[in-house]
């Protein structure tokens, strides 16, 4: 016991440049990426390019924030990519009009209703994940792996494998405006990026300033202790999966709006990129440690890196190699940072 006490005390006194680099590694990595690519390509460090890249990052960022909440709880959500695809298709399906045969009418819900219903679908898939994990004690990895397949399968069934192309709606049906999410800009900033910022701020407030945030950190850090302290650990668990589902649905809306089409295979393997962003952002896969700021930095590091490699003309195969190397490096640094502290005595 006294060993650890002495160890931590001496660590604190020698707070130095290494410690600083380790703490802010995602931030320094981002700076390094921007500097290196700016030197390599004159087109990289331009406002328009940054906005384009930020728009790409928005999708992963949204998924990563949801993922981070689940990882903070000590779980994992492999279904986010599929949920993104499913919700995109669902939104597309609603935009095409819902035919009610018995009444002989085709309903064209307004865009706001499409958005609300789509988010509800995301929350529902998340609820299923959470219920499986919390009530039926299915390991998170398996439960969400299952819903990864189910959600993707349902998306393919809904479209028969085809893509909904006409998402713009028409003025006489009163359902125009879906493309606003992906194409429009407010003060020059793409709406997708603004949505990411709003979600990030909301998640940040949730974690830092609400009782739920405290419950989440404590049940991720030590579920037994949290439960005995009166934290409703099951409710917290189900809620984080629902929030992750909602984040995936938001990403699904933004992506299908950006593409003005909704394909059933959209978002395949995006869950892996989201996990990578969370890990690069310094969260611990064991739960209990992680921040919104770190996760956003992680998403930007991965997004800016792969877009940068495209701009300087590196083959996409190499991009995959680089992304993998970054992830491994990040996890390695994580275990250096948390290696000593997390140990039980």
């Amino acid at each position: 016991m006294s060993d650890t006490t002495a160890g931590t005390a001496s660590k604190k006194s020698s707070f130095n440049i290494v410690q600083l680099l380790l703490e802010g590694r995602a931030f320094f990595a981002l700076i390094a990426i921007i500097v290196i690519f700016s030197i390599l390509s004159p087109n990289y460090a331009t406002v328009s390019n940054f906005l384009i890249m930020a728009n790409h990052v928005a999708i992963f960022g949204l998924l990563a924030i949801g993922m981070m909440l689940v990882i903070l709880n000590g779980g994992i959500d492999l279904s986010v990519g599929s949920v993104l695809g499913l919700t995109g298709v669902f939104a597309g399906f609603l935009m095409q009009g819902v035919e009610i045969e018995s009444a002989g009418v085709i309903l064209y819900p307004p865009v706001w209703a499409v958005v609300v219903l789509t988010l509800a679908l995301g929350a529902f898939v998340g609820f299923c994940n959470g219920a499986l994990v919390a009530w039926f004690k299915v390991p998170a990895f398996v439960a969400t792996l299952g819903s990864l397949y189910v959600a993707r399968g349902v998306a393919l069934l809904m479209t028969n494998g085809l893509t909904y192309n006409n998402l713009s709606g028409s003025a006489d049906l009163g359902n125009t405006g879906f493309d606003w999410l992906g194409f429009n800009r407010i003060a020059g900033v793409p709406v997708g990026v603004i949505i990411l910022a709003v979600v990030a701020i909301a998640a940040g407030l949730l974690l830092a300033r609400t009782a739920f945030g405290r419950w989440l950190y404590s049940s991720g850090g030590n579920e037994r202790a949290a439960e005995l302290s009166g934290v409703p650990v099951k409710r917290v668990q189900i809620t984080v999966y629902m929030l992750s589902g909602v984040c995936a649905a938001i990403a699904g809306l933004v992506l299908s709006s950006q593409l003005t089409s909704a394909g059933p295979t959209a978002g395949t393997t995006y869950e892996l990129t989201a996990i990578a962003a969370v890990v690069v952002g310094g969260a611990s896969l064991m739960g209990g440690r992680g921040t919104v700021r770190g996760t956003l930095l992680g998403a930007f590091v991965i997004g800016f890196l792969s877009d940068g490699l495209v701009i300087i003309g590196v083959s996409s195969y190499w991009q995959t190699v680089f992304t993998g190397a970054v992830i491994v490096l990040a996890v390695m640094l994580n275990s250096i940072q948390y290696g000593g502290k997390g140990k039980r005595t």
Partner: protein
């Protein structure tokens, strides 16, 4: 301090003593677990090691079995000094240890467990037939009817213990160390075990025995050694000792842990009515139709051996476990069906036994651990009020006197005693009517113990009902108004604070004839 006639000398008699520890000391950081201990293992006899929790018994056994190297001192095996660097080396020297928690793979068969890690290899992989033959041989020697192909999880606990012993014998162990072997056994299984021990003695195997069941240990031991605070305090052959001798040497003069506060008892705060809880092994009851009433301002101490049902009783009252029968009343109202969180809100809290596993969130700071149970009290509308929280944390740190760099310090930076104060402080912040503490003094130093008891006594004076459990008899006779001795899920005896340590210990131990 050494009593008795057999004072271990520096040159052990090799005909009599097979393994001797001379002046062995062991430190973990600044903590001295053993301070120069002499210990003799007698050839073909049972040597029992007595001592309270934290006296250094386990450390000494770990040194003998190669888990730890001593900081200083030497081990003498058959007259020659030896270095035992690992459990494998110890095994090669013929020393085996059977831990309290069995180290068997429950999913594998008896045969596979016995030969785990040293499988007999034939030309085509593992020679199962030969393993099975040897396994049957061992079981015949032990006169136990256990089929080598049974999965270990299908065996009763007592049989699993026999498998452990068979494994030790299969490597030709001459010295067998048994750490609390009977704590989970039924009376008939204990009898079988003792018969096996007698047979082993007859075969020339030397046995080192550790047990909290004093009377039980007295029935089989040939020599007794008592440890206290890392020092050997007494040493004698069986013929010269009795229960009273052991207790006197184990407990010694105690640090003053306070006396019962003169509080006026109010209405009953906590009532247990016929409470029964299933045992986690699935067989029998851990708590058996227990009735207990604790009044406001009263401090009740629950003493009992490991497995007496103290933890199960407390966890059931707190809402972690569900009772199979009976009722729990808080201030006259049943708490049946309430969640842990709701029980905390109504004023019933538990400080769990294992603070690392159940008490603290290691990833959070001291302050956030302290405020974890009372988040609702500083949440206004949607958001938490950080200033209000800081005030609550400051007050709490002062009240339970946590020594820390500040609320932002990581919880791991605190000493064990201060961590325990954080766990207690976290619950006191919720202003409970009844506080249950499961072994609050476990693994903390004597100064911190005294402070914890002082804090509890102060709150009892203000009308809080306090129930704490302990396995150190010295702590029963401190602040408690009433001492309850639990045994096999029932109340075995009840004392006022004017009783003696010997009476309490006698009530908790189980004799074989019972």
């Amino acid at each position: 301090m050494t009593e008795g006639t057999e004072i271990p000398n520096s040159t052990p008699d090799t005909a009599e003593v097979v393994l001797a520890a001379r002046n062995v000391a062991k430190s973990f950081g600044a903590v001295q677990a053993l301070k120069g201990v002499h210990f003799d293992v007698h050839r073909g006899q049972v040597t029992t090691l007595f001592g309270e929790n934290g006296a250094g018994k386990s450390t000494l056994m770990k040194i003998l079995s190669g888990v730890h190297l001593p900081t200083s001192g030497e081990l003498i095996l058959d007259g020659t000094p030896v270095q035992i660097g690992s459990t494998v080396e110890a095994r090669d020297l013929g020393i085996s240890i059977i831990h309290q928690e069995l180290s068997l793979a429950p999913n594998m068969t008896v045969r596979d467990n016995i030969f785990m890690g040293r499988e007999i290899m034939g030309p085509f992989g593992v020679n199962y037939a030969e393993e099975e033959r040897q396994c049957r041989e061992l079981m015949r020697e032990l006169e136990e009817d256990i089929d080598p192909l049974t999965p270990v999880e299908d065996l009763r606990l007592g049989q699993q213990q026999i498998v452990e012993i068979a494994r030790a014998l299969s490597v030709n162990s001459r010295i067998l160390i048994m750490d609390e072997p009977t704590s989970a056994l039924s009376a008939s299984e204990v009898e079988v075990l003792f018969k096996v021990i007698h047979d082993l003695k007859a075969k020339g195997v030397s046995i080192v025995y550790i047990s909290h069941h004093l009377e039980e240990a007295l029935t089989i031991t040939d020599h007794a050694v008592v440890l206290r605070d890392g020092v050997m305090t007494a040493y004698a052959p069986r013929a010269e000792i009795d229960l009273e001798w052991i207790v006197r040497n184990m407990v010694g003069e105690n640090f003053d842990l306070g006396s019962p506060p003169d509080s006026t008892f109010g209405a009953p705060a906590l009532e247990l009515k016929g409470l029964s809880v299933a045992s986690h092994t699935g067989a029998g009851l851990a708590v058996d139709k227990l009735d207990l009433t604790v009044r406001k301002g009263e401090i009740v101490c629950i003493y009992g051996l490991m497995g007496a049902g103290r933890t199960e009783m407390m966890e059931t009252v707190a809402g972690r476990l569900q009772p199979v029968a009976g009722d729990i009343l808080l201030n006259g109202e049943s708490v049946q069906g309430l969640t842990i969180a709701q029980r905390i809100d109504t004023g019933l809290v538990l400080v769990p036994e294992d603070r690392q596993r159940d008490g603290l969130v290691q990833t959070m700071t001291v302050g956030r651990n302290l405020s974890l149970s009372s988040i609702a009290s500083f949440t206004k509308g949607l958001f938490t009020n950080l200033r209000e929280e800081a005030r609550i944390i400051e007050d709490s740190i002062k009240e339970v006197t946590v020594k820390t760099d500040g609320p932002g310090a990581p919880i791991g930076s605190l000493s064990g005693g201060n961590q325990q104060k954080v766990v207690i402080g976290k619950m006191l912040v919720t202003h409970p009517d009844v506080i249950l503490l499961d072994e609050p003094s476990r693994g903390i130093d004597i100064g911190a113990k005294a402070e914890v008891f002082r804090i509890l006594a102060e709150h009892a004076k203000k009308g809080m009902a306090v129930v704490y459990s302990t396995s150190e008899v010295g702590e029963c006779l401190s602040i408690a108004h009433r001492i309850i001795v639990m045994r096999r899920g029932k109340i075995a005896a009840e004392f006022t604070h004017e009783t003696t340590k010997e009476a309490i210990m006698a009530a908790s131990g189980e004799s074989l004839v019972a």
